[in-house]
Every structure is written in C-alpha cells, then in structure tokens.
Subunit: 222 residues, 2 copies
C-alpha cells in the first residue's frame, strides 16, 4: 500500500461503503440482467430506502417518510466528494463500449459529483447534467487516486456492486462500512464479503434499528 | 406439515433459534474438529456471550458483565423446555456410537432440560445430572414432536449447528430466530441460511446494539 492510497492518511478524507444486504448476505439476487439490474428479488433490498424523504428529495421525488433511517441516509450522502462504481452498477453489459449506453439514471443522474467507473475497456468521459462519469481501466488503486483527487477534503464512496466493494475491502482501502441488513432472504446472487476472511478486522461502531432494516456501522481496524 | 408439528399451533409453545453469526454469515469457522468444535476462529463468535454474568451464572461461573446483551441472553434462556441439537453439536465424531463420548460439557451439562440429539445411529438415552440426552434417528419432525411433548407449555430451542437450524427453517418449523451478529469475518465454514431463499419470509422484530454484537430478532411469517 502506498501513501497515496492509504485510507485516512490524507487528512480527514475517508473511503466509505454504504450497502443494503439481505439477511443471508447478498447485495443483489441471482440472474442480474438489464431487466433485473439487482437480480431476482434484489429490488426489495431498497424498499426501506426509497420510502424515505431523505432519499426521495435528492432524487427529485415528492413526499416520503421520516424515521430512524433518515439520519443514516443523510449521513451516507453527506461529505461525499466522489464515487467509484463497477461496470455492473453503471450497466451496459460486458465488452467494448458503444456510445449508446449512458447509465441507468437518465439525463439527470442522482450523483451530482464525479463518478469513476471501473472497466477493462476505454471510453471518453461522459457528462450528464452535473455528473461526469470517468472510465478507469488501470485498476482499483488508480481509480481511488483519481477519486481522492476529485473529492478533495471530502470522502470517497465505493458504491458497488459487491465485486468492487469486496476488492476494495480485500486491498485494505476501506475505512468505514455501513451494512443495511434487510429482513429478506435472496438465496443466491452477489455476496458481500465474498473471498474475504479474518484478515479484515472490523469494529462495530453502532447499530440502529429502523422499520424494515437495521443499520450496522463498522470501522476497519488497521 | 401436520398439526402436531405446526409451529405455534399448540398454544403458546414456540420453536426458537438463538445463534451467533459472523458478519459474513457463518455460525462456525472452517475445519471443525475435536480440538476446534466451532472451527478455526469460531470460538470468537461467543466472546460477547461468555463475558456476561447472564451466561456465567447458569454455567456455574463467577462474575461477569451486565450490559445491553444481558436482557437478550436472559430471554434466550427463559421459557425453554427442551433443546434439539445436531450430532455435530453433541460431538463424538461420525458413525456408530461408542459409550465413551458423553458430550462436550462434563458431568454437569448446562442444559438442565431434556435434549434431543439428531443422529443416524441409535443409542440409549444418556442422563448426566439433570440433563437427559435422547438420541433420535427418525428425523427432524419426530424430534420436534418429542421435544414438544417434553417441553409442555414451554418453548423448544433448536440449538444448532447450522445444518440442523437450516433444516428446521426450510421445513417451516421455526417461529422465532435471534441472530447475534458479531463484527468478525470467518471467511468459510458453516453458514446460516445455506440452501434457503425467499420462500422463508422474515419480519424484523427488533434490533439491540450491545458491546461487540448486535442482536437481530426475526419472526417467521406464515
């Protein structure tokens, strides 16, 4: 690990993960596809989230609930200066890029910050409204360097999917991890912590009970 | 499912599970053995528990902490009239029984109630102090019938390991499930919810944050 990518070494900027997980540990169900980007049953992982005003307002939607999850969602959105995501989260299928696919989110993506997409295939940056997607082909550490530069004093969010989160965890590059445990079994799919083990030491920071979800926050111990 | 084994149909008696699980979903680590009955690293799943007065006192040990877990442990021990366990939890290795193996717990087992051990090999009942171990060879529903009879108006605990718990969950025979999530990765081993899926519907009853563990209680929705 170099100084430039060591989590928490550059002042207050941290690398954070906020992810919804089924009770059996999946962040997406089986058979992910264009029609089912989170796999069969995976959309239900976010039922608790999309019902909240704290999520609906920044997504331009009216109404919504206020409950014990609201604070957690506000915190998850606060002080984030850049996001890193895998190609699966950006979408468009495998292989070389065409120009057609512009992500799942339409002309007004909800990120409002620089986004770095990990991919094996080069593509020019794509700007939609106030979000610029930059496609990074030289690996997770390079993507983190660029995201840190873009985020400045703010934090970097590793947004998913599971494969990308697990890679950053395995590399020791994540500082804080919030797991939103949903009372739901998916049975198969993409698993958080897959391929990891006791070398990744966690400290429980807090747990918050909320309607239809429990928020478990961990810090990675170094 | 027959009337006799339908959870909750016989008055107030319920079938309950209380189990400690790593953040990556394992109730025991890899390579379970006589020396490592909970697998490599698995003992650490119970660090939070064995520190508590609420656990130490019924096990004949002095001292111990009182914290947010105390109430949860007291509840887990209260109103239980019989326990069902797998052969792995009772121990002694696979194959036909000798008379030598009398469980892991010495002459004063901590159960103080009838215990039903699921096994493929017949063995006469074994009484140690106020615990009688009865060996059941005709399957999980038969074991539950016998445990219900022994428990009377009290509840039946399905005590583990993971395989037995997963079988009772898959058969729709569990009413309540408390998962004690420990901030620890085991990476491999015996997984809670293995082989299950969305057919098992859970409702989150509560979540309690405590030192080094979070207690998630679910009810099975029928």
């Amino acid at each position: 690990m170099t100084f430039a990518t060591g989590g928490g070494l550059q002042g207050m900027s941290e690398v954070r993960v906020h992810i919804s997980v089924s009770a059996d540990g999946y962040v997406a169900g089986p058979d992910q596809s264009l029609e089912n980007p989170l796999g069969v049953g995976g959309e239900s992982l976010h039922d608790w989230l999309v019902a909240l005003r704290a999520w609906r307002e920044p997504h331009g939607l009216e109404g919504g609930e206020v409950n014990a999850s609201s604070q957690v969602v506000e915190e998850s959105l606060a002080n984030v200066g850049a996001e890193i995501m895998g190609r699966g989260k950006f979408g468009g299928g495998p292989g070389p890029w065409g120009d057609e696919w512009q992500g799942w989110w339409g002309d007004e993506p909800p990120f409002h910050m620089p986004v770095f997409v990990l991919t094996h295939h080069e593509r020019e940056p794509l700007t939609l409204s106030d979000t610029t997607f930059t496609f990074v082909t030289d690996g997770i550490e390079a993507a983190l360097d660029r995201a840190r530069d873009a985020a400045g004093a703010k934090d970097v969010l590793v947004g998913g999917g599971a494969g990308v989160i697990n890679q950053y965890l395995a590399a020791g590059l994540v500082d804080e991890l919030e797991v939103n445990v949903v009372p739901l079994l998916l049975g198969d799919g993409a698993r958080l912590f897959d391929g990891l083990g006791p070398d990744l030491q966690l400290e429980q920071v807090r747990a918050i009970e909320a309607p239809g979800v429990t928020h478990l926050k961990y810090r990675v111990v170094r």
